[in-house]
């Protein structure tokens, strides 16, 4: 456990010693800020129209902040992360392989698993700081509206799981090469494809469509964003994380015999 933390701390420091952390966080705040603004503007329009209807017909249909704003914001985070996560994970192993520092880690009294979990945790902490930034925006909603806090917690739990999927898969891809660009583009390509098949299959009813829908990362965030913690989605995310970390371990181990 101590060793995991040593590695995690080093990774986190590396993100903030280099421009990566700042670029990722800046890009996220700009993109998320824009989406937040436009969502809120649309919501205000709807609110305004609803108020007009109420005056005309004397009946007010209340709008739900969670349903109309937070849900689409959570989905937006999932899509933005698809672009940003490869930037976080691509260096984790590829850089160490390129500079030879992997030799220091692998000849130190640490197990492979401690190295992997440490790197995962380091990347996760950067992702967590990104989620905290997004929460600052959502707090604004609490100042002026009355969203459901519990549903928000469920949504963020979903984001934590989804982000961990991205991170663990990206971590695995980073072990395959010593070139960061390759690791990054593989990650981005894969995440984007997983997103696309989920998006394309959302209206399809065939078995293949359902399978594609199930495989996609982003479709599973849907229930969470509504405030529903579904066991199926949770199990799905946890299995993807577990499988990716397992493959990472096998891949790191193979460095020892493959050469």
């Amino acid at each position: 456990m101590k060793n995991i933390w040593i590695i995690a701390r080093k990774e986190l420091a590396a993100y903030f010693h280099s421009p990566i952390a700042y670029i990722v966080l800046a890009m996220f705040t700009v993109l998320f800020g824009f989406i937040f603004y436009s969502n809120l503007r649309d919501f205000m329009m709807e609110q305004f129209l609803a108020a007009q209807y109420a005056q005309m017909y004397g009946q007010l249909t209340p709008l739900n902040v969670n349903e109309s704003v937070i849900r689409s914001l959570v989905y937006a985070i999932a899509v933005i992360c698809l672009f940003l996560m490869p930037m976080i994970t691509m260096r984790l192993f590829a850089e160490e392989k390129k500079t030879g520092t992997i030799e220091l880690l692998m000849t130190s009294p640490l197990t492979d698993l401690e190295i992997i979990l440490g790197k995962f945790l380091g990347a996760f902490l950067l992702y967590a700081s990104l989620l905290v930034l997004s929460l600052l925006y959502i707090l604004i909603l609490f100042l002026y509206g009355n969203p459901d806090g519990k549903a928000l917690i469920a949504a963020y739990l979903g984001l934590v799981l989804l982000g961990s999927c991205y991170l663990s898969l990206g971590l695995m891809l980073s072990t395959l090469t010593r070139n960061q660009v390759i690791a990054g583009s593989l990650g981005f390509g894969l995440f984007f494809m997983l997103y696309l098949i989920g998006w394309a299959s959302s209206y399809s009813t065939g078995q293949l469509g359902q399978l594609a829908n199930y495989i996609s990362f982003t479709t599973h965030i849907d229930n969470f964003s509504k405030g529903v913690i579904d066991l199926r989605d949770t199990v799905y995310y946890l299995s993807v994380i577990g499988l990716s970390l397992f493959l990472t371990a096998r891949s790191v181990e193979s460095v020892r015999w493959r050469a």
């Binding site: 060793n3 040593i6 080093k10 420091a13 590396a14 010693h17 280099s18 500079t99 030879g100 520092t101 992997i102 030799e103 220091l104 880690l105 692998m106 000849t107 130190s108 009294p109 640490l110 197990t111 020892r256 015999w257 050469a259």
Partner: protein, 326 residues
Amino acid sequence: MIEVQGLTKRYGRTVAVQDVSFSVKKGEILGFLGPNGAGKTTTMRVLTGFLPPTLGKVTVAGYDVMQEPLEVKRRIGYLPETPPLYPDMRVMEMLAFAGRLKGVSGNQLKQRIAEVSEKTALSDVPRKLIGHLSKGYRQRVGLAAALIHNPEVLVLDEPTAGLDPKQIIETRKLITSLAGEHTIILSTHILPEAANTCGRVMIINAGKVVAEDTPENLTARLQGYETMNLVVEGPEAEVRERLSRVTGVSRVSPSQAGNGRVAFAVQTVKGQDVRKELARAVVESGWGLLELRPVGLSLEEIFLKLTTTESADDNAGENSKETAAS
């Protein structure tokens, strides 16, 4: 301290190291001498637990590298050919990180960092970014990081490669000063370096151990003698006596005997081919000459390779040594 038995390492079909065995006693400095690609780095990587051996058994301080890798890693300080340093860390951060990795923490870590950076003359650059350091400083930071947990065994892969002559001399001095307290294995492809720093030298070529001796004996063999392996069927003492009377032979040492056969290693003056005389002496005495083979040749070839490719470096090293002395 270190026991290696029948170590073989293959990468796919290429054999990097073949059936290498050696042992290193506590406090000794063993040098691996050999041209690039001879298998020095591979051997070191197996020793440090970075690569598993294909065949063979490697134990460090009584722990098997494969069975108890963590125990072995705790006891080894390893400096690879390119020092494994993070360019965006500062020198002190790097040493602290390396120390924590090796299980040193708290006050002890602070103390070790101070000790190690003084030993490697890094005290003047604690806050510098490693990416901004010169090659010589980086090498020293790497060495300091390898020393941080005060390991029993130090494995140094070409510790002086790429340094300027003054730094080479300083590094050699540092390594010699570390012996006794630490058991050291270092690799080099420069003959005088091995001769200056190591108590014992192992010459590796194409994955095999070609020779193993003290540097003095090796140099003597190189400069003054050629060695012939001779297998004779006959009485040992008489054969030996007869052989040493052949002109040009300086020493005859029996290496093995059995079955009425005796194998001799005959040292001869260099440049004088005594094979004909040796054969005649044996045959005229009525013994059977079973084998007559020069062995010094392959060794010499390697030395030639080593000394010709690196002579420029050596001269530079030697010259600056002279100026430093005067």
